[in-house]
Symmetry: C2
Subunit: 219 residues, 2 copies
């Protein structure tokens, strides 16, 4: 079990506090608005009404002993910067701060934030990719351009077997698993003679370009 | 190339519009605040200052011909609901709306939103999971409890070969790929005699429980 402080209970902060608590960790949730603190009180170890821009408060709340402190103050940009500065002066081990824009992010890093997150922007990019190629259900970036992508079986593959398609040799794309709809199950490393159905979702691993090339060819 | 309208240019909406435009699509970006429209003008096909809660405006902007319309109005909950209602009356093909909380989400679905997103909350859950088990770098939920997880090589695996570890038989976990740090590359479906280094990141596929069991055992 780990210990966390979450400062600022907007949509993001509230959910971070609640999720950590439900994962079994000790969570101190802090906000300057009474109603937010009341709402979180069933989903945390301790809920505190306070202005977190007070170094003595942060010290007495045990900032230095926590596994991590999350700061998410919305549009209060200058306050979030001062709070991160105070936390690092108190030798807080790991500080994560939500930033509104790239400049805010830069300032937070400068004063010592260990990690800066841009929740809206990161989700926006994912949504744009999904709208741009709708058969891609979700993906995980590995690095060096490699991704794992869930792809709705393109028409050109339906009815064919994996050995016929020979995706590994022709496209350098590996079929890691197949998510079948009927019956609902996940088939890991499917056999070569598996025949693709139109309701299948393919879990592919390969480079961005190779998967995009495969998708275009098999439409 | 597809066509989109993005209504509401907060952190989320702005980035959706910009990303779709940079992916090569036609994007009409709409907001009632002049400065937001000016900021987006280099990153979209057309930037329009307007109150989108006007059905005639939505019709003349071509809502019915677009591949999708994204509505992201922040705290203006009632306006976002009315706008989605108008869009579906105009027979817009696919409407995506950002919701602030579950009740807002329910109302948006009721009036016809094809997809409702909760960007902050979804990222908050991901961050909580990452803080809860730090060696998990990222993961992709497949379904039925199956995940693909990037895991920093646990100490108990370092120096051992995949055939010695026999993860498939003992834990029912598959090593799909290994992200090496030195040299930086992705090794897909590594050979059985591969020996794990302490800087390796393992891309594993298996059920939530099996991967968690493996991680605990190998610490
Ligand atoms: N100095 C402070 N001390 C404690 N809490 C603060 C302080 N300043 C702001 N807050 C709180 O931070 C929270 C910020 O939430 P707000 O909804 O404004 O952010 P947001 O970025 O829109 O959130 P989200 O994107 O997570 O919805 C508010 O609940 C506010 O009361
Ligand atoms: N009726 C309307 N017509 C057009 N634009 C609107 C309307 N109502 C609100 N907006 C715009 O929607 C945007 C909402 O952004 P805001 O920053 O409040 O949302 P947010 O949820 O905090 O955003 P994000 O989470 O994406 O940062 C504002 O730019 C506002 O001008």
């Amino acid at each position: 079990m780990k210990k966390f402080i979450v400062i600022g209970l907007g949509n993001f902060g509230f959910q971070v506090a609640r999720s950590l608590f439900e994962l079994g960790h000790e969570v101190v949730a802090v906000d300057s608005q009474k109603d937010r603190v009341q709402q979180i009180s069933d989903y945390c170890t301790r809920a505190v009404i306070a202005d977190a821009e007070d170094q003595e408060f942060l010290r007495s709340a045990g900032a230095a002993e926590m596994d991590a402190v999350v700061v998410s103050l919305g549009d209060n940009i200058s306050q979030s910067i001062i709070i991160v500065l105070f936390l690092k002066e108190l030798k807080a081990r790991y500080v994560i701060a939500k930033a509104n824009d790239p400049n805010h992010g830069k300032a937070l890093r400068r004063v010592g934030a260990d990690r800066v997150v841009f929740p809206e922007q990161e989700m926006a990019v994912k949504l744009a990719h999904k709208l741009s190629s709708p058969s891609v259900i979700d993906s995980l970036d590995l690095s060096e351009g490699y991704v794992i992508t869930e792809l709705l079986a393109p028409l050109g593959m339906v009815g064919k077997s994996l050995v016929e398609l020979d995706l590994r040799k022709i496209y350098k794309v590996f079929v890691m698993a197949i998510r079948e709809a009927v019956p609902e199950r996940v088939l890991v490393l499917p056999p070569a003679e598996y025949r693709i159905k139109d309701s299948d979702v393919l879990v592919l691993l390969g480079s961005d370009e190779d998967i995009a090339r495969l998708e275009k060819k098999m439409r």
